[in-house]
Every structure is written in structure tokens, then in C-alpha cells.
Symmetry: C2
Subunit: 469 residues, 2 copies
């Protein structure tokens, strides 16, 4: 081992590099010198310290700097700046960096990137800048990027990498290995090679471990597997990710409308997509659309306004129901004190059912074949918990207001509203999904509207009938 040029240190048991603290945040003793060097315009220090960072680490650093510092860092590092890091930060930060750069320099930077990363940066730019930057790229790269950009947003064609290795089926394993040893222009990394006919029509694929296990004279067509899972470029990215995930593929071929190989979707894209889609569901359930934490106050306020406005309309609807019974409330203020409890319990129970339903629809565990069974299940859960909380709340209300009749009224109303909550929680997502709407985005409001209206109506209506009867 004495003459080896790449003698390595023993692997450190620390899984992340030293720039992070124990909680996984960037460490102060890394951030401070970097910020000081930016302030002092110390380009040499920055190239040495920031240059070797992984793109994701550089992304974390960018997130921790303010806008001026970011732009200064990019300027000071010059060609040493790894523009792949721009795919690791959110849109607002990416735009603030790219728009501060001359288009000439952006084009220069994009040439160094994989096509999927270049597309990722280009797609958010204003139309004019995008055109100008593309015009400054060499013909072949321009063509590739333009083709990706022509596919719809969030499609497999938009997310694919256009660099891949493709060989003809009659090559031997030996020829293929020799080709890979000689060829300079291979993708930076790959896990699979594709097999195509002379018109680039996809015939199959071979995983690299299969090539390494096979002797040189064997033909590629003998060891390739059928690519049943070739993905049409127009496919939505979520569906494409589901296919790769379902069949545990390391990468999947993307084909055009003539079944010709145009790109490859790799598993790290799939992880990003899976996370992005889960994120989207969480945000939609929480009523905050596509907001990012780096959005400005006005952008964020505007995007939340619509949801709050819908909620205001439904809250007024619930108030109109209360208004129907104002005479009863005046006679018996205890009703006003207790009514939010009935509505709130229904709202929570409905949200529980809805959460289960929305996720089961997303993972396709809930479909028209088992819908009836799941609806029955939810109603039974609503009945069980409804009965328990009716009992608890009936006793609490009887003792609190020393009025057994009031206890009975709230118990029945609670029971009714918990069953209504179960029905609304399961049926509303099912109906929305059936009509092609995303149940994550709208179910919440509808469900709580139902539980508010039913809750107030059942409790106040029953009380009116009971105490004036």
C-alpha cells in the first residue's frame, strides 16, 4: 500500500461532515468564519473552505446567508462555485441568485450541469431570460434542454436526465466494457445501461451488476431485461415515481411518443418527488398551498387569504344556524357555553377520519371495491367513540349546570355529530377523488363545515324542542 496514491483515512464514525452540529444544523464555528470571509472579500479562503462542499451542504450554507451575502459568495467564488447547489434551495433563493447574474454567466454555469439540474434552474426563470440563456448555449445542449422544457411541468420529461449510456443488442459484454473504458463522454454516474435499435427505439436495459457477473463473450441481448416499465415522457412525475418505487428500480427509461429513448429518471429524483408530493399533501391539509418559508410576507399572506376566506364563509354558515335558535339561547345561556364543545369534538373526529381517508386514497388502499367496508368501519368507530364521549359529556354537563335534561341533550347531540363526522370524513374525500379533485386540498373545510352545522343544529334544535316542548 506504500506506493498507492489514494491512501485513505479511516472512515470517521461521524455520518455527516464536520460542518454540522449535533442537531444537524450548520455549526456556528463553520458559519462565522465564512460570513467573515464574505465580509472581508477573502476569495482564497472561501474557495478553500466552501469549494469542497457537497452540493447539498452548499445549499444549506446558502439558506443560512442573507441575500447580499449569497450574491457576494457566488461572485467571490467565481468558477469554483458549484451551481448544482441551486437545485437544493427553494425557488425564491434560486431566483435571487440567478437573476443577479448576467445571462452570459448563467449560460456558462449551466453547461457544467447535468441536463435535469439545468432544466430545474431554467424552468423558474422569466421567459425572456430563459430564451437569451438558451441562445448562448451550444447547439446540442440547447436542443436537449429545449426538448425537456417543452414537456409539461412536473412531467417525467421535465425531470429526466438526457445523459445516458445506450448500446445495441448485438454487442458483447466485452465490447460494452471496452466501450465504457474508452469513452470519455459518459454520464457522471449511472446504474443501468439501455439497449436500443438503430432508430433509438428502446429494446431493454441491463443493470451494471449483471454486466459485471457475466463473461465477456455473452451478448447484451441475452442478459438484458425487458423494460416493461418504460415511462412515457408526458407522464406526471408522481405517477412516474410510483412506478419506480413500486418495482424498486434504480432508474427508468423515459420514452417519447414513438417509444424512442429520450432520457432517464433516476432514483434520487424519485426521492425528491416522493418528498415533494408528501409535503404538498401536508401543506394542502394545513391550508397553505405551495408556500415556501422564504416567500415574502405579502406572497405568503395572499396565498393563505383564499383558504381563510373560504373558512370565513363556512363559519358564517354555522353562525346562521346558531342564529335560528337565538330565542332558545336567550332563555338558556348554558347552551351558548356548551355548543362549541359539540362542534369541536365533531370537527376533530371528522379530521381524524379524513386524514386516514386522504392517505388511503393516495396509497390506493381505499378504492371503490372496499369503500363500502371502510365507510361501515368509520361509522362504527364514530359510534363507539361517540357513545363514550356522549356519556362523559352528558355527566359533565349535568353536574356543571345541575340540569340532567341538559346532559341528555348534549349526549344525544354529541352522538349524532360524531357519526356525522365519520360519514363526512370518509364520504367527502371519496366524492372529491371520484370527480378528480385532490381530496387533500378541500376536504378539511367541507368536513368541518358539516360538523359545525350538524353540531350546532343537533344541539340547539334538540334543546329547543326538548325545553319548549
Amino acid at each position: 500500500m506504500a506506493e498507492a496514491q489514494h491512501v485513505l483515512d479511516a472512515p470517521s464514525p461521524e455520518p455527516r461532515s464536520g460542518i454540522y452540529d449535533a442537531d444537524g444544523y450548520l455549526a456556528e464555528d463553520f458559519l462565522e468564519p465564512v460570513a467573515a470571509a464574505i465580509e472581508a472579500e477573502d476569495a482564497a479562503f472561501l474557495r478553500e473552505t466552501v469549494g469542497p462542499l457537497h452540493e447539498s451542504e452548499l445549499g444549506d450554507l446558502l439558506r443560512n446567508l442573507d441575500e447580499d451575502e449569497r450574491q457576494a459568495l457566488v461572485r467571490l467564488m467565481g468558477e469554483e462555485f458549484d451551481y448544482t447547489a441551486l437545485t437544493e434551495v427553494d425557488e425564491a433563493i434560486r431566483l435571487s441568485i440567478v437573476e443577479a447574474m448576467p445571462n452570459e454567466q448563467v449560460a456558462e454555469a449551466l453547461r457544467e450541469l447535468d441536463s435535469d439540474d439545468a432544466v430545474y434552474i431554467l424552468e423558474d426563470l422569466p421567459e425572456d431570460d430563459r430564451k437569451e440563456i438558451l441562445a448562448k448555449l451550444p447547439f446540442r445542449e440547447r436542443l436537449r434542454l429545449r426538448r425537456s422544457l417543452e414537456y409539461p411541468e412536473e412531467s417525467a420529461g421535465r425531470r429526466m436526465q438526457t445523459e445516458f449510456v445506450a448500446v445495441p443488442p448485438y454487442w458483447t459484454v466485452g465490447q460494452t466494457i471496452d466501450y465504457m473504458r474508452d469513452e470519455e463522454d459518459l454520464p457522471e454516474s449511472f446504474a443501468q445501461i439501455f439497449v436500443v435499435d438503430p432508430t433509438f427505439k428502446l429494446l431493454g436495459a441491463v443493470d451494471l451488476d449483471r454486466i459485471l457477473r457475466t463473461r465477456r463473450p455473452a451478448k447484451i441481448e441475452e442478459i438484458m431485461h425487458e423494460t416493461r416499465h418504460a415511462i412515457p415522457a408526458e407522464t406526471d412525475q408522481e405517477e412516474a415515481a410510483q412506478i419506480i418505487e413500486q418495482y424498486d428500480l434504480l432508474s427508468a427509461a423515459v420514452v417519447d411518443e414513438n417509444e424512442r429513448l429520450v432520457g432517464v429518471l433516476t432514483i434520487d429524483d424519485v426521492i425528491d418527488i416522493v418528498q415533494q408530493e408528501a409535503e404538498e399533501d401536508i401543506r394542502r391539509l394545513g391550508g397553505v398551498g405551495d408556500e415556501e418559508i422564504s416567500d415574502t410576507v405579502v406572497t405568503a399572506a395572499r396565498s393563505r387569504f383564499l383558504w381563510l376566506f373560504v373558512n370565513l364563509a363556512t363559519a358564517i354558515l354555522a353562525s346562521l344556524v346558531i342564529g335560528l335558535f337565538d330565542a332558545t339561547i336567550q332563555q338558556m345561556v348554558a347552551l351558548a357555553v356548551l355548543m362549541p364543545i359539540v362542534a369541536s369534538m365533531g370537527g376533530n373526529a371528522g379530521t381524524q377520519t379524513m386524514t386516514v381517508a386522504v392517505r388511503a386514497l393516495a396509497s390506493r388502499e381505499l378504492d371503490i371495491y372496499n369503500a363500502a367496508r371502510i365507510v361501515r368501519r368509520e361509522v362504527m368507530i364514530g359510534f363507539l367513540n361517540g357513545a363514550l364521549f356522549a356519556l362523559v359529556m352528558g355527566i359533565v354537563a349535568s353536574l356543571w349546570f345541575e340540569d340532567a335534561a341538559l346532559g341528555q341533550v348534549i349526549a344525544i347531540a354529541m352522538m349524532v355529530n360524531m357519526i356525522a363526522a365519520a360519514l363526512a370524513g370518509i364520504l367527502i374525500p371519496l366524492v372529491l377523488d371520484h370527480f378528480g379533485a385532490d381530496p387533500a386540498i378541500a376536504s378539511g373545510t367541507f368536513v368541518t363545515t358539516v360538523t359545525d352545522v350538524v353540531g350546532f343544529f343537533a344541539f340547539l334544535g334538540l334543546a329547543t324542542w326538548w325545553f319548549s316542548g
Copy 2:
């Protein structure tokens, strides 16, 4: 191509195989004949139809059968049943199948699986069964599985695959390729080989594409890369997944406390983990713990009960606040009609802020360095939307009850509650996270408690002071 044994069909443009319908659910004309064959005990038909399915497709089939059909299918298919499919269904289904099988047969089935899949099935079984099944396995496999099972639940050691390829650093690329061509006992698929010293201490790793690009005489130690990202086996699976994801690795080495290689965590496990963790966040935000849709009614009802019980306590707290002002309400029933609107708008605005905060904490975009800025941002958003909705609701209430003073009271209360919502929505997750609690699980209740209490108190308190002053 005439003599090739593996002539392939052209790839179908259909990304999934024909057993699914256009919506991605299992097709009726696949399900019905299978169910009929199970009924008729037609083992030959089942082996032919179900045998070639991918494990995930078989998993989908199991989910679509009822318990008796599932057990009959496993029995009828005998050795043709792919037990890997048990890792694709949820715990309740997995247990109902495994517990219906004699332990002898389970042991037989586990021998065919990769170690990580075997562990996945074993870990949910009752202690006694697990011991008995392990005892029936050959010594080496028993040892491996037992070691994985000794690591904590949801750790890298529990999820790792113990089959991997490891070679010494002084081997040449040629030797390594020859070894892989000759060796029978390789993992089913792999994307990386590891480099170890004679005591199995991890020295580095080489991606397969690097081996294929390099000429035979080069030494492995010259092309290996340092495995900075070796993962200690006790690491929590979520943290391990974050490392693999952050550095776009195809797989990562798992090492024991002596830095010896004990297994490999592959990227498809990472996708499962990423999805599982996002799922967990969604469920916790929705108040439904670890419930699965195949859980029984009683199990599900019990797991939701606790959350509803906490909600009842907080709802009663809000009612106590209302009770303070019962005299005012009796004088002016309009207050009872309008008060749920103030509370509901605050609750929704708080949930929005909380959703953003919980996700930003999970992705480490929110930390102690930028917390002050994010809190300011949220308060400003609350102020903006608060002012808008105060104006809208002030006008609506004035016109509805023909009372300008009532409009002013609700406008001020709305403003106050929207700012309280912003503060609660951001500070509660931050504080929970600071004390090591999962903000997804508890923030929701705390936030709506704050907005209910502040909403009712501000509105009714202000009205009492205003109208009796």
C-alpha cells in the same frame, strides 16, 4: 438475433402491467378470475396467474382479498408464493397470514428472502414464535437475523441488508470482475462494492460504474472513494435516510461500534423510510397516531380516543371562558351567534402557520438562527390577514345585526386573535422541538386551544367592557 434465447417484445407504452386499470387500481377482470380460482381451489391456475407477479403486485392482490381468501391463496400456491410480498402489506395483514402458517413453514419461507425482508416479517411476531422460527434456521442465517433484531426498532441496523460484496483494497479491477463472474453467492442485486481490511473494518466503497470504466490492472484502492457517510448501526432510520438522501448515495455502509462493516442500507429502503416518516407526520397532524386502514374498529377507536379526550379537555377550557361572560351573552345573543367565527378564523390561521413551522423544522429550514426572523414574518402575515378579515367581518356584523359597535368589537377581536394565532402557530412548535418533543404530534391541540381561548376572551371580554361601560 435469430439464435438469441431472450428475444424480447417491444416495450409496451403502458407503464404498469395489465393487471391494473386506468386509475391504478387492480382491474376487475384480473381480480374476479383469481377470486374464483381460490374458491374452486384451482392451484394450477393460481400458480400460472399469480406466480409471475412482482412482489408489490402480489401485495396489492393480498390487500384486495379477504382474510380467508388470503390464507387459501398462500396455501394453494405452496412454494410458488413469493413471501417478499409480505413486506408490501401492512402489519395486520402480514400477521394474519404468518400466524396462520406453521412455524416450520415460516422458517422455510424466510430462508428464501433477503435478510432485511426476513427481519421485517420477524420483528412483528410474538416473542415465542420468533424464537421458534429462528431456531429452525441454519446457523449462519440465524446469527445474521438475530444481530439485526438486536438493534433498536427503526434503526439502520434493523433495516439493513446483511448481504453485500466486500473486497480487499489490494485487489485489481480485473481480479474483482473475475471474482464476481465466478462467485455464486452474490446478493440478488447491488450498486456498490465495499472495501474492507482483514478484520472487516470499512476502508471505502466503489460504485459499479467506476469499476466498468476502469482498466483491469488498476487497484481497487486507487478508485475507491472514502466512505465518509458510513452509518453506525444504532442510527435512527430517519437520520440514516436523510444522509443517503442528502448525498444522493445509491447505498450506504452500516458499521458496528468497532467500525466494522455489518450491512448495507439501500436506496429503496430510503424511499420507504422517507414515505413512512412523511406519512407519520401527516397522521400525527391529523390526530391519528400509527393507525392503519386494516386495523380493527376497536383498535382504531382506542387509538383515536386519547386525542379526542385531550381535545375535549381543551374544548371545556374554552367553554369555561365563555361561561365567564354568560350575563353579557344573555343581554346580547348576537355575541353567541358571532363568537364561533372569531375562534374558527384564529384556529385556521394558527393551523396554517403551524403547518409551515412543523415542515420547516422537519427539513431544518427553521432553526434558532433564523427563528426570530420567521416569528416576525408570521406576525406580519397575521397582522395583514387579520386587518383584512377584521374589515370584512366588521362590515358583515354591522349590517347583519344593524349595530356598528358590534362590528367594531368583532373587528378588534378578530385582529387580536389572528396575531395570537400567528404567535401560537410558530412558537408552540419551536418550543416543543426545543424540548425534544415531535411538534407534529401535539402542536395542533395547543394552537387551537390558544386561538379558542384568546378568541372567546377577546370578543366576549371586549363586548362586556364596551356595552356595559
